[in-house]
Amino acid sequence: MTSYYRPGSASEAVAILAANPGAMVIAGGTDLVIDRRLGRADPRAPLVDVTGINELRGVRWDGDELHLGATATISAIESDPAVIVRTSALAEAARVLGSVQIRNMATLGGNLCTASPAAEMVPPLMVHDAVAAIRGPAGERRQAVADVVTGPRTTILASGEILTNVRLRAPALSGSCYLRQTVRWAMDLAGVGVAAWVLTDGTGREAAVQEARVALGAVAPTAVLVPGLESLLAGAPPTTERLGAVSAAASAACEPISDTRGTAEHRRHVAGVLAARALSIAHARAAGLWSGGLAPVNGRASAVTSSGERA
């Protein structure tokens, strides 16, 4: 029989972890259950189920600050009306993660802490400059999400620490977008996933970029922020030339591998393509020009199918 703990508070969880070296935290279980069955994780390791902890739950807005509990499900993020409008990249990433069933189970904290290079939620959190709260025996510390994942399947969480929440701000005149390239149109991991965020100085087509961030998933051991965007974009609207420069910067920021989801060369190219598209959509959102709801998954306005269904 597996040792199984279901703490009622974060501090209790931390205490249990301290008392059980090797214990693993389980939330949605959508990765861990598979890993235990296939022997990629120790099937006898004690489990600490954090889904019973109230303070870890929920999607909550406090003014322009978004508070995402570590055990907030992907479907809760996907369906939050304000997330869809104000932090669209998060909703767009949530919407394409697995299936309805998986999204009902999988959590934000799980997606972050599993630390897959292709983790869908990480690039959107990074462009939104999200900060993670981490609780451990020594108390709570805060860390930029961009610094939480350190490599494939590794994070800065020390043994005995748990993620409790992630917080970010969505100021007025900001907008974001997440796009990806996959082989299938659903139930697929990103070959390339790109999030963009833009803060403008006003509304309308000529609104200038004040700040911009682009993060790339599945093109390096961890998601990466594209450096140097301020100098390329700040002070003007994202013209075609400027977007071209963003593409080049994004491609240059990749350190991809070739695997069953794409060649390195292709990933590098597509990261550039999607960066420009995502940035353009994020700008449209920030500048109040977007009325299209969530973007098509590859950012390309799609045709209508032969029977009139939306493609």
């Binding site: 996959t182 299938r184 292709h266 190219h269 999607l274 493609a311």
Partner: protein
């Protein structure tokens, strides 16, 4: 054409559907048996290695383990074409997944622990996973026990006509290379087999296999069993698509474990094992050339083919049989030549997967049709129609084309897709239309001495009509179609008919479910048996009604005399009148139908099927040229089904096949790295989801085949054959490059767009001018 049928041609829900939608259907893994043990297989992790030793002592000592077997402690004979395989490998493993040992234990956890305790020492051997490398001198020899050259397991060579002369006369010759991937049938239900001996030594196997009589014979031959004492029962099948067609190493292993353990055992494959240890669709590489005169008349086709067989010969080695038909007989092509080598490689080996070589061949043949048309300045549909097979044609391989709706299929999809208005005119939006058409066996396929199927009917005192058929239901709807054929033939309501087909002790012999043959062959057998029962019924009714039997008709269960409204008799009464009296008798009839076909001779000539199915698709795609992503926006399908016994089931076969074809075209692949599948799971494999499947418009073309039951022809495989070719053609229309291989994954397509990939088109202006001048 007759259309006043009472049952045939109606949209009838499948008889098994209510149980399936309520979760009541009991599949193999749902069965509970007393004393049932769990089996598990120790597989090779190496693509090619010598087995130095197998130590099972620790596994045998584990409490809860009932049997541990390996080649050293069982009796087994080779199986497979050319007898190149054994259930448990004794000297050499030739692919990852090769079966080395197996255990039967009290539960799955114990079985897994026992596997972990088996130690196998290997000496690694050089491996080759590319068939072109395997053909090179000095390549590793994969079967050094066989007397073969260069890892060539078999060759298929066909030639007719004067190729050099046809080339000289051609105004345009298109040549190119076309490849297909290793793919998987991937039914949602994995393979499950239950085997047990009764106390008297008779064997019962419960398995969702569907060439069940051959299965029984293979079991007996390999394991030295008395095949009269083997019963095979087939539970409902959770999908096969050819994957469960016949016997595999694990079937023998389950029986050997049951024999060793003296207990029944169940072997259920995990999904990872399903990909690694069961049969796949083998990659086939075509170098194809097609030549045509300036007016579009096809003059020749020449294919040089390498089939990547994998480690052993299962049915996949014979996919060239079908691929050859397409090269020589799709359209009126006349002069044709095919040279194919089936080459061993150190990989999971090919089986018989839906379409059986035809998607691969059609991908090459139909791309060249559109390339030829473009080079000649013709519309591809006009080129196809000009060369379309027609009733009465005999193809170079001796295929006798009887009913043939190919032209009507082409015209239908052309019209419905607005081909003439849209093809070639959507390049700016990166959208395109592409077409393809096929020929496939539709009236059985004589790959064995007999291509027959038996049927029996009985009518009991309640009026219940039982059809006992040799065939099997895989979900495709044959059970319902057969019941409809019986109801129509007998003139009784469909509710009165039941179908049994799941027990070799009870059912009459059949080759099995393959080659789209069941509606045609099993349907004819059922129709013949039912016709005899009808004669018996009317004979009995004639006595009661005092009219000659030939003057009677029966419809909806009422026997009547035309023109005499009062002279009627319910059919159940006619049965009871015969039964409930002295000197009684009941109605039991039987029939065996073997289609009037030939096995192909040593030159691959012979009319292998009693009829041929045809169909055409048009596919619309949208390409994102900067990411390489392809969206299928629509698919129009028209298929010559002869006669739709159950139109809803025909559509279901076509739609399901088409989406499997979309998967082949765009996403499904088992890439091999160092002889292994790095990702044997459904996350990476690329099976289409509901969001990948396009809306599909199906038109059933009815040509009333002379020999088919009520005119029906086979349709089980038609849907899957065309999407790879049609989607490649649509991509070419959308972005102007030629997909050389499928799946057309994003990075491949983007690369082709950058390099401007095209086939070689050899256009001879002199010949074009000459013909045009005439």
């Amino acid at each position: 054409m007759r259309s006043d049928y009472a049952v045939v041609g109606k949209r009838i829900p499948k008889l098994d559907a209510p149980d399936k939608v309520t979760g009541r259907t009991v599949y193999a893994d749902d069965l509970k048996l007393s004393g049932l043990l769990t089996a598990a297989i120790k597989r090779s992790p190496h693509p090619h290695a010598r087995i130095l030793s197998v130590d099972v002592s620790a596994a045998e000592a584990l409490p809860g383990v009932y049997a541990v077997i390996h080649a050293g402690n069982v009796t087994q004979r080779p199986f497979g074409f050319g007898h190149d395989n054994t259930p448990l490998k004794d000297r050499v493993v030739r692919c990852v997944g090769d079966e080395v040992a197996a255990v039967a234990a009290v539960d799955a956890a114990t079985a897994q622990r026992a596997l972990d305790l088996i130690s196998v020492d290997y000496e690694l051997l050089p491996a080759v996973d590319d068939p072109f490398e395997a053909l090179q001198p000095g390549a590793p020899r994969i079967h050094d026990e066989l007397d073969i050259e260069g890892n060539v397991s078999m060759e298929w060579n066909f030639q007719t006509g004067d190729l050099a002369e046809a080339e000289r006369r051609s105004a345009v010759i298109v040549s190119g290379s076309y490849s297909s991937p290793q793919a998987a049938p991937a039914p949602i239900e994995t393979h499950v087999v239950i085997a047990g001996f009764d106390a008297d030594g008779a064997l019962e196997v419960i398995s969702p296999v569907h060439m069940v009589f051959m299965y029984r014979k293979e079991l007996a031959d390999c394991l030295g069993l008395d095949w009269r004492r083997i019963t095979v029962r087939q539970p409902p099948v959770g999908g096969s698509f050819g994957g469960k067609i016949d016997i595999d190493a694990h079937d023998f292993i389950a029986v050997m474990l049951a024999r060793a353990a003296r207990r029944p055992v169940k072997l259920a494959m995990s999904r990872e094992e399903e990909f690694t240890g069961t049969r796949t669709r083998q990659p086939i590489h075509f170098q194809l050339r097609t030549g045509a005169a300036a007016d579009g008349t096809l003059l020749f086709r020449h294919a040089e083919v390498v089939s990547d067989n994998g480690a052993y010969n299962a049915w996949g080695s014979h996919a060239l049989l079908v691929a050859m038909n397409t090269v020589t007989s799709m359209y009126r092509v006349g002069t044709s030549r095919l040279n194919a080598k089936v080459v061993y490689t150190n990989k999971n080996y090919g089986g018989s997967v839906r379409g059986f070589g035809n998607p691969q061949a059609t991908f090459a043949v139909e791309q060249q049709m559109e390339e030829l048309a473009d080079a000649l300045g013709m519309d591809p549909m006009d080129l196809r129609l000009k060369n379309a097979n027609r009733p009465g044609d005999v193809t170079p391989q001796g295929l006798e084309i009887t009913s043939c709706g190919l032209s009507e299929c082409l015209e239908t999809v052309r019209r419905k897709s607005s081909w003439d208005q849209r093809r070639g005119r959507m390049r700016r939006q990166h959208r395109g239309l592409g077409a393809a058409a096929y020929v496939h066996v539709g009236g059985g396929a004589r790959i064995y001495g007999s291509d027959g199927c038996g049927a029996m009917t009985k009518i009991d005192d309640s009026g219940r009509v039982a059809l006992i058929s040799g065939s099997s239901e895989l979900g495709q709807g044959s059970e319902t179609a057969l019941a409809m054929i019986v109801a129509e033939t007998l003139g009784v309501p469909l509710e009165a008919v039941s179908v049994s087909h799941d027990d070799t002790d009870v059912k009459p012999w059949d080759v099995g479910v393959h080659a789209s043959r069941t509606t045609f062959v099993a349907g004819n057998a059922a129709r013949m048996a039912a016709a005899k029962a009808r004669d018996e019924l009317l004979k009995g009714a004639a006595e009661v009604l005092d009219r000659p039997a030939r003057s009677l008709t029966i419809r909806d269960g009422v026997i009547s005399v035309p023109g005499e409204p009062t002279a009627t008799l319910r059919y159940e009464k006619a049965v009871r009148r015969r039964l409930l009296r002295e000197g009684s008798s009941i109605i039991m009839t039987s029939a065996f139908y073997d289609p009037p076909t030939q096995r192909q001779d040593e030159n691959y000539v012979g009319n292998i099927s009693a009829s041929y199915g045809f169909g055409a698709h048009v596919v619309e795609v949208e390409v994102d040229p900067d990411t390489g992503m392809v969206r299928v926006l629509g698919l129009w399908a028209a298929h010559d089904v002869g006669r739709a016994i159950n139109p809803m089931s025909c559509e279901g076969q076509i739609e399901g096949g088409a989406v499997m074809g979309v998967g082949l075209a765009l996403s499904e692949e088992l890439p091999v790295e160092d002889g292994r599948f790095p990702a044997p799971n459904l996350h990476d494999y690329g099976m289409p989801t509901a969001m990948d499947a396009p809306p599909i418009d199906v038109t059933l073309i009815e040509t009333a085949d002379e020999l088919g039951p009520f005119g029906a022809k086979g349709i089980g495989e038609g849907g899957i054959i065309l999407p790879p070719a049609a989607i490649a053609n649509a991509v070419a229309d959308a972005v102007g490059v030629r997909p050389r291989s499928y799946p057309i994954r994003p990075w491949k397509l983007r690369r082709w767009i950058e390099t401007g990939e095209r086939s070689h088109v050899d256009k001879r202006p002199q010949l074009v001018r000459d013909v045009n001048a005439r």
